[in-house]
Amino acid sequence: MFQLTDITKSFGATVALSNISLEIRQGEHVALIGPSGSGKTTLLKLLNGQVLQNSGSYSLIESDRAESHLDSLSNKDLRRLRSEIAYIPQDLGLIPQLKVFQNILLGRVGKHSALGMLSKFLIPPQKNLQHIFSLLQRVGIPEKMYQHTATLSGGQQQRVAVARALFQQAHTLLADEPISAVDPARARSLITLLSEIATENQLTLVMSIQNVNLAREFFPRMIGLKNGHILFDSPEPSTEQLEELYHLSESELVEP
């Protein structure tokens, strides 16, 4: 369970998150919505332990472990925490020069030492290959296993990123605007895939998304962010709340 209390995060003079308090329970599906620059990416990065809050507290409560506070973790524990949270950035973070199965293998980079990873990378164990193959089957592109990632289409690469996140065997899946660059039909199919996979594997799913209709359809909980504040946090935001969320003043439209 993620527990955020009074979190404030700023980069220089820009305040990305201010006084955010929220709780995300294990297995919940949450959509983050809001205009660009509202703090969605920062919130996701904070949950992944990539950035540290300036004030407030962020703790992660796992059933069989002691509560961990982000600001007091050792390097080793920080790595462990990250290795159990899958994060799919907007640019997918795939290495185009590698073959698909190699990119997926790298999903476990946080679970091995550099040398241990190297041996897995050079001589992948049969067990891992079988696992990767079944994951690729799940996301619908098993035939691409030995292809160079660069040769795949954008939609196929997204599926590789999803397979990599699954291979990581994490308890949480964070995705930063995964559908911003695809056509409506592909967007829907990807969101369907992600929420199905999260349900099957009992993963916590937190996704930032621009498309309010899709968010409403697939997510039982929506958090509206604007200028670093939580505007609403509800299963079904009202039309007024959505209007307020996306209403931008003239100057904001020209200069974000």
Binding site: E84, Y87, P89
Partner: protein
């Protein structure tokens, strides 16, 4: 208020300044324009030399060749093999050293915001030290390193290989570290977000991505190593350069052409194969038809393979092994004791400044050095600088002028894929000019500048012209290719728009390609200028007044103290050139100037 004053372009000023600078450099090397044209004797040499081009010798030209001499082709083959062997050995030694030094002088693997002061300090000091070592190693030209090793240890192939490896390791290290540092960090950042350790994230997120560029640059340096090995013949190593020099001195022009063609063929083979290897590294083959039932092993069997890379790897390992093991010539017959005593004498007596040898007091070295610098050093250093700069400006201007015809995409039937009429004659002309120029570039950059200068010197007579022209020709080949690549491989939507608006090719070049890539071209200018200065320090070995000449002369007089002093002076000039070019290039990379 928006100012409508015309924009004063720094670019225009830079371009316009090049011409007076060129004139000044040429004027300062005290050569006359008239020297550019060969004298009567030179004309004779030129006629004979080029007449022989069409009839390379197939056998010894010397009628008095003893029966016992090895067959002519055997001689050529051996000269070529020796050249290749030196290059392979030198590169195989330089690559691991270059990788280690390059890793140490890169910052890309540093842990983010390390808290410990000791760690940070250790990293910073290691970084500084390796940077200094690589700069120093590069600043002395490989010919000079070879001369130092031969003088200090006695002639032995191993000494020459080590001498070649020093500057090569250092330039590999420099470029590797730059490649690693300039690699986009998204993949590394991503792996860290998965909990990857600092080193693991660097290894997969940075090093792995750079591997293609690292291999690509190593291939280029291998090509350079063949050229370097060839010209080492001019200082007495048994590579093809030695035979070229002798053939010229004996006036056996037909034999000379056989040797030149052989060398050119070797370099062209390496150049072309590297070209295809590079291409195959960026080309991802598509999958073959899929197997009936999908499984990891069935998919693995049909996975796309890049055979050329496998073949190259096997070939490289084979060639390296053969180069290191064949020929007893690799390790000299000099005993270790002999070599150590050589070294001891070299260090304790020969290179100690003459006044110090007499008095034993090192303070006497200061007036000695001062005198050397003032009487000869300054003058020779300036000459070197002028020669290098003049050559580079010539190459750059020629490159800019011919670029619209040498760029493949611009000089195509349909430039950048935009239909440009179907006049057959014109279209053929476009194809031919671009083909001709690109062939010319390969030819120019294949010939070692030292060899070009040597040949030109015999034709044009002993002025600085041959040195300038030799350097300029070689660099024209390089600048031409780099410029063409810029125009060909970049996403030039604005050029397409200009052509679609009715502009012609030349306009597309002048108003779209040139402004978009001007800074990059100036970047290349300074990058090559730095190399020109470095090469200019040794061209004087051919006997034209500049630093190389002083070095050669001191050696001829057996004054090894002065000899080493001038070598160090040449290193200083190169370091200053490097430093100046670095500052300018850093400025040019500044994103606010990239527009």
């Amino acid at each position: 208020m928006i100012s409508l004053k015309p924009y004063k372009g720094a670019r225009r000023i830079f371009l316009l300044l090049l011409i007076p600078l060129l004139v000044f450099c040429i004027y300062s090397t005290q050569i006359k324009w008239a020297d550019f044209f060969p004298q009567e004797y030179g004309m004779g040499v030129i006629k004979k030399f080029f007449a022989a081009a069409l009839e390379p010798a197939l056998d010894y030209q010397d009628p008095d060749m003893p029966e016992s001499a090895p067959p002519f082709w055997h001689k050529i083959g051996e000269a070529l093999w020796n050249t290749l062997q030196y290059a392979v050995c030198a590169i195989s030694l330089s690559l691991p050293v270059g990788l280690i030094l390059g890793f140490l002088s890169s910052k890309s693997w540093w842990p983010p915001r390390s808290k410990s002061v000791v760690t940070r300090l250790t990293l910073a000091i290691t970084h500084r030290i390796t940077r200094t070592v690589t700069t120093a190693g590069r600043s002395v030209h490989e010919i000079l390193w070879a001369l130092i090793f031969i003088t200090a240890l006695g002639t032995s192939p191993m000494a020459v290989i080590v001498a070649l490896s020093i500057p090569y390791s250092c330039s590999l290290a420099k470029v590797f570290s730059e490649l690693l540092d300039e690699q986009p960090s998204y993949a590394k950042a991503y792996l860290q977000s998965l909990g990857g350790g600092t080193f693991a994230s660097w290894l997969y997120g940075t090093f792995l991505i750079s591997l293609k560029d690292i291999v690509s640059y190593t291939l280029y340096r291998f090509e350079c190593a063949i050229r370097s090995a060839a010209i080492l013949g001019f200082v007495g190593i048994s590579t093809i350069g030695l035979h070229i020099e002798t053939a010229f001195e004996d006036n056996y022009y037909n034999e000379l052409w056989t040797l030149l063609y052989a060398l050119l063929a070797l370099i062209l083979i390496v150049e072309r194969s590297s070209h295809y290897i590079r291409k195959s590294m960026t080309n991802y083959p598509s999958a073959k038809h899929l197997p009936e039932n999908l499984s990891p092993s069935s998919l693995r069997r049909v996975q796309p393979k890049r055979r050329l890379l496998t073949i190259t790897a096997i070939f490289t390992i084979g060639l390296t092994t053969i180069s290191w093991t064949t020929g007893d010539s690799l390790f000299s017959k000099l005993s270790w004791e002999q070599r150590m005593s050589n070294l001891e004498r070299f260090l304790s007596e020969e290179i100690t400044p003459y006044p110090v040898q007499k008095s034993g007091d090192w303070s006497d070295a200061i007036p000695w050095a001062k005198q050397l610098i003032l009487e000869q050093g300054v003058e020779a250093s300036l000459q070197t600088l002028y020669i290098g700069t003049a050559a580079m400006i010539l190459a750059f201007i020629m490159g800019l002028i011919t670029l619209p015809w040498s760029s493949k995409s611009l000089n195509e039937e349909n430039p950048y894929g935009i239909y440009a009429g179907n006049n057959r004659v014109l279209n053929l002309l476009h194809k031919l000019t671009s083909l001709f120029l690109r062939a010319l570039f390969i030819l120019c950059r294949s010939m070692p500048e030292f060899l070009l200068a040597f040949l030109l010197l015999q034709m044009l007579g002993p002025t600085a012209w041959p040195l300038i022209l030799g350097l300029a020709i070689h660099n024209y080949g390089i600048v031409g290719r780099l410029g063409g690549e810029l125009a060909d491989h970049s996403d030039l939507n604005h050029t397409k728009v200009q052509l679609a608006q009715g502009g012609n090719r030349l306009q597309g070049y002048l108003f779209s390609v040139l402004p978009a890539y001007f800074n990059r071209m100036v970047l290349y200018f300074f990058y090559r200028w730095e190399t020109c200065i470095r090469d200019a320090t040794v061209l004087g070995l051919l006997g034209i007044s500049s630093l190389g000449f002083l070095i050669d002369e001191a050696r001829a007089r057996d004054n090894y103290d002065e000899w080493l002093f001038f070598i160090l002076l040449s290193a200083c000039i190169v370091i200053i050139g490097d430093f100046a070019s670095e500052i300018v290039r850093k400025k040019l990379r500044n994103p606010s100037l990239q527009r």
